[in-house]
Subunit: 119 residues, 2 copies
């Protein structure tokens, strides 16, 4: 389930703006604010099944965009390379790691990695 | 003009897969292979005006996707941070820059920057 939340969250972060307002709201309520389908249904005054269908459809749309554009995949590959660069700096002997210029490189890379964790 | 070619090229690289086959072909012929509108027109056996309209429409669609998703903007900001990290490593004194582990960091970052130049 956590995997699914992360996956939908990342897809939503990239392509969410292409969904309808209602689809965006349902995804946010369910995946970001952790509301159950029944809770969302009562919020919108529709059936639980209707919420289920909206979520399924929205997820499907996000998956289809990624299948065509592969921008999340590209982003994740880039993140992996940044992480590798970060790890290389982190693995330097302490006397090198403590040099201010090298600390700056590390901090800069950390900022780039942190972005993905905000998702 | 070069700016426009780069801008359309980058947008096309990100969102091109959302265009029709014909739109993609026209953009590639014009911006990648540098064919004139007349040359593309004779290739497809349509009027020069028709090619002009296809290109305008395709560019407009790409611009609209970016206005909603801002993924090119995000990518460019990330590229700038990677470039800054790369420059920080490059500005290290030679005795540090020549340490193999630091060379590896620099190479890893160079790979990430090169990607944008392939576009």
């Amino acid at each position: 389930m956590l995997d699914k939340v992360l996956k939908v969250g990342l897809l939503f972060d990239f392509y969410g703006a292409l969904l309808t307002e209602k689809q965006q709201q349902c995804l946010e309520m369910h995946y970001l604010h952790d509301l159950s389908l029944s809770e969302i249904a009562s919020e919108f005054n529709v059936s639980r099944q209707a919420v289920h269908d909206i979520l399924k459809r929205a997820e499907q749309i996000l998956i289809e965009y990624e299948a065509r554009l592969k921008l999340v995949e590209r982003y994740q590959q880039e993140q992996q390379s940044i992480q590798e660069a970060y790890d290389l700096v982190g693995a330097l002997p302490a006397e090198l790691r403590n040099i201010p210029e090298i600390q700056s490189v590390r901090q800069k890379l950390a900022t780039l990695i942190d972005k993905s964790e905000e998702v």
